[in-house]
Symmetry: C2
Subunit: 335 residues, 2 copies
């Protein structure tokens, strides 16, 4: 099969390759007549520029990288759908990477991306307390970076987050308003800032709005079975009447524990969770959630990144964005 | 900032650029001593080859495209996780595209990909009955293509699917075994083969194993509200005692309808659905499912594609794979 490339077009038209190349880029150096001839043949032969070659020439690959911990929850699926809506409309391609919560993998992906495979990077980081020199490298190389959801406050790049502290307050107050006197907080094991910020909301809400003097924070192990056992022991030993789960996985495990030890939700214990589960309303009982605007996070982060790529501002053009989460009251916290 | 490229390495080592380039590719034309010098400096300066340049040179981009309808259900999230496990281990990058069920968008993505942005394509098609010339174009250009889940039987490419017909039989028989005398089938509106194949399983199971003479197939409109209304009218008018939902979205809508018209599941009506919902066991009542091995579909399809890319066989090396789905009995079909 014949390869329809610039060389082929040049030969057919009896022009220099550089002339055809410049004509295709609509260069002012080439006459309108020549351009017309080149365009007509290119169209007739369905010529399309080689993606890699254009990338090299213009230093633009029209690709952005999306680097996230994993895909096994509704939150990141929605974020990616939001990103895709924006990039698709502007003709950008998405390269997808999962870090699986492994900081070393994140460093390796970012170092590879720093060599120019993409025009920009959207990142939800694995660990805020770790070294950020891989991210500094992106900045040094001038590859735009926007952080979302799990961000590092030490980086100056644009950050798109939600109001995790206020939401932590809101969730805890809701349990207090529903009559809970002893509220436990299920913290995820990993060292990510959102967990801590949400917990600070819980701690401050207890101080201000509850008679509960001693906070009850359970740091849940990462394995599902270990988390189950750990939550079971806590519910049996401490007998909390309210649970605030920092992530939906822990709420789901907590439901299973309650079933096993025959605690009725919400009669014996009320449960609220951060969650984007699209079936939250169908759980038994339906789960009260603090729901993050995941799709909007994706849209907002992608728009911010494309603005920077398209030089509509500096590397932190537009500044940080904090989106609001919503409290959706359902039966798991009913009176 | 200094750009560490081949030119820079060549200047530092006082070698020709072509010598450095060949040394980095471990060419036999270059002496071991020279190679060692080049490697040592490349390592010290953290040199990494420009992704696009390598792509052009070796005609390999180390990227594969994953083209799927959408991300808003657990099935495709799991498939992508399976693909990522395989590609990550072999150093491949994933480019992600959503067709949103729009055949024209699929054609446009594939035509762009046919210009060589990627080494191969994994595709779950939007519409089996449409023209396949865009897929033929990939084959003509020698870009490996593997189809999964939603495939076109008219294409010779490797297909990774599940046993939809047998699963349709299995689901229907389970409802019959649980005592259902009038079973309705909720068909999705779209023209995709899996819907029809699953339905054929339902129709044949009724013929062979049930006294129900007239099948009850409802083609559900694509909008959620319209599907709700359509299912509501069917349940009220036809009073089926069993429902087989071809996709989980319809099962979830059916749960909502039952709540509104006060039908008890499973006492008044039993429900089974194809689903990969990770919260199926927590729904009220827990949902009996036919669960596809989604993660394995992703793994299998990715392995097949990489085999073809790496020339370990022709464009349909290894042949088609049919994976088994599982019946997971829960309370929505209990006696």
């Amino acid at each position: 099969m014949i390869k329809i490339d610039i060389k082929y077009l040049a030969k057919e038209l009896n022009l220099a390759i550089s002339t055809v190349s410049r004509a295709l880029r609509d260069s002012h150096e080439i006459s309108a007549e020549t351009k017309e001839k080149v365009f007509a043949l290119a169209k007739r032969l369905n010529y399309q520029p080689n993606a890699n070659a254009s990338g090299l020439r213009g230093q633009k690959t029209k690709m952005i990288a999306v680097v996230i911990p994993e895909m096994v929850n509704d939150f990141f699926s929605l974020v990616i759908s939001g990103i895709e809506k924006v990039t698709q409309a502007q003709g950008y391609h998405i390269l997808l990477y999962f870090t699986h919560g492994d900081h070393a993998l994140e460093v390796s992906f970012i170092n590879t991306l720093a060599n120019g495979r993409v025009d920009g990077v959207l990142l939800s980081i694995t660990d805020e307390h770790n070294d950020n020199s891989h991210l500094e490298l992106l900045n040094k190389k001038g590859i735009p970076l926007v952080l979302f959801d799990r961000v590092s406050e030490r980086m100056d790049n644009v950050k798109v987050t939600t109001d995790n502290y206020d939401s932590g307050i809101l969730a805890t107050r809701h349990l207090i308003d529903m009559g809970c006197k002893k509220i436990g907080y299920l913290k995820i094991h990993k060292n990510i800032p959102v967990g801590t910020i949400r917990m600070n909301g819980y701690l401050d809400a207890l101080k201000k709005h509850s008679a509960q003097k001693v906070p009850l924070v359970l740091e849940c192990p990462s394995g599902n079975d270990e988390a189950f056992e750990s939550i079971r022991r806590m519910l049996v030993a401490e007998k909390p009447d309210g649970i605030f789960a920092s992530v939906e996985k822990l709420a789901v495990i907590c439901y299973r524990v309650c079933e096993q030890i025959r605690l009725h939700i919400p009669q014996d214990i009320r449960i609220i969770s951060f969650s984007n589960l699209h079936t939250a309303s169908l759980l038994n009982p339906s789960l009260t959630t603090i729901t993050q605007p995941a799709f909007e996070i994706g849209e907002t982060a992608a728009k911010a990144l494309l603005r920077i790529i398209q030089k509509k501002g500096g590397y932190n053009a537009g500044g940080n964005v904090v989106l609001q989460s919503r409290l959706i009251k359902r039966n798991s916290t009913a009176r």
